[in-house]
């Protein structure tokens, strides 16, 4: 498969809208493409697109995701850039996985079993696709497809806790001077922010800080009672587990009821594994200097890596600064360079590596 054909695959993937929960059309497209290229391809029980190639004593899982955040971006080329929703997060990395596996399979010397997975609902609190995959495989190596740049390796992600805080009470006349549910919810959010600031004292790195975000705000009533709800997203440092974060949140909001919608702990891996070494070599050979990254976001690596206990990292073309933005695009040359890096890495770890 030529670089041009690889780009055509990525463009076709971007042209199929696939916000979380609506990945079926893209899954069907990918399974047919992978089957055409010799993969054993299928859609699993939760809707993940899966393609397997090669046989051997080792299994490598290439774990991407098909879903994107909402927001249509006109698909177009501008100079050396391809624009569209999912270009970097994370159809670019997933396309790179599929193309690389197809190339190795076509050469006929694939020394291991490669499992490419396009997960559903990575962008949703449920992470449904990854939780399903976590129980199905026990790979020797795992590469998660997220934008790190062609010369970057993501070795850790913050944890995450998404919750709804609900405050209720009997309704009263606003002229009576009592705090409404909406006002008490606003007060709760102020306490969350100031509590996070106190937690973050002497923590200069964003990775080590507790980062709260208010992502939704609603209120209403039925004439007798009134209510207000806050959607809160906490980004967690490695030393704050989801259970501790939930308790911390409850402490801040007092009377409010905290309902957790989804949570994963932070994860940081070693950068001295054979997998990291193979990437460092391949990036060096391609003329780059490996960069090692800790991300303030969260990915499916948080879900699978603690369970699999194998060398794992996240890698993929694209600048994560464009994640979820209206300017999301990928630099085409970067996409192609990542194909060469991935090809060399999979060859090396598939053939067996020194510990």
């Amino acid at each position: 498969m030529t670089d041009s054909e690889a780009l055509q695959l990525l463009e076709a993937m971007i042209r199929i809208p696939s916000p979380s929960g609506q990945e079926a059309e893209l899954a069907d497209f990918l399974v047919h493409r992978m089957a055409d290229w010799g993969f054993r391809a299928f859609i699993d029980e939760v809707g993940n697109a899966v393609g397997e190639v090669g046989v051997g004593p080792r299994t490598v899982v290439l774990l991407g995701h098909m879903d994107t955040v909402p927001g249509e971006i006109p698909v177009r080329y501008e100079g050396n850039r391809l624009y569209g929703r999912g270009a970097v997060d994370a159809k670019g990395p997933l396309a790179a996985f599929i193309v690389t596996a197809a190339r190795l399979a076509r050469r006929g010397d694939l020394p291991c079993r490669l499992v490419v997975v396009g997960c559903v609902e990575e962008e949703a609190p449920s992470s449904r696709g990854a939780f399903f995959v976590r129980e199905r495989y026990r790979p020797d190596f795992c590469i998660v497809g997220e934008p790190s740049g062609w010369d970057g390796l993501t070795i850790g992600y913050k944890g995450s806790l998404q919750a709804v805080i609900r405050i209720e009470g009997p309704i009263g006349h606003s002229a009576h001077g009592r705090a409404t549910a909406a006002e008490r919810a606003c007060d709760a959010w102020v306490r969350i922010r100031s509590g996070a600031e106190a937690f973050n004292t002497a923590r200069p790195r964003a990775f080590d800080r507790l980062l709260p975000a208010l992502t939704g705000l609603r209120s209403g009533g039925d004439g007798l009672t009134e209510w207000a709800e806050l959607d809160v997203h906490l980004r967690l440092p490695p030393d704050l587990s989801p259970a501790s974060a939930e308790a911390w949140l409850q402490e801040q909001v007092g009377e409010g009821r905290v309902t957790v919608r989804g949570a994963v702990p932070a994860w940081v891996g070693s950068r001295t594994t054979p997998l990291h070494r193979a990437f460092a070599r391949a990036i060096r050979r391609a003329g780059g200097m490996p960069r090692y990254l800790l991300k303030t976001g969260t990915s499916d690596l948080n879900v699978v890596a603690p369970a699999w206990q194998c060398p794992a990292l996240a890698y993929g073309p694209g600048d994560a600064a464009f994640d979820h933005t209206p300017e999301e695009h990928i630099v085409i040359e970067e996409f192609w360079r990542s194909l060469r890096v991935l090809g060399e890495v999979l060859q090396e770890i598939g053939h067996g590596v020194r510990p």
Partner: protein, 55 residues
């Protein structure tokens, strides 16, 4: 092939196919070391991990 950790001066055993840019751990002090050059062999503290926003 052996080397000395620049942090704790403990001995480090190295693979024959070592390559510039690899990061290796010191078994004694746990420091992460980067192979700065293979010939002559030179080890240094590995570069700082960078922070990056997003996924």
């Amino acid at each position: 092939m052996t080397a000395v950790c620049p942090e704790c001066e403990g001995p480090i055993r190295l693979a024959e196919d070592l390559m510039e840019g690899e990061i290796i751990p010191c078994g004694d002090c746990g420091a992460e070391l980067e192979v700065l050059s293979v010939t002559p062999l030179k080890l240094g503290l590995a570069p700082e991990v960078q922070e990056d926003w997003g996924e």
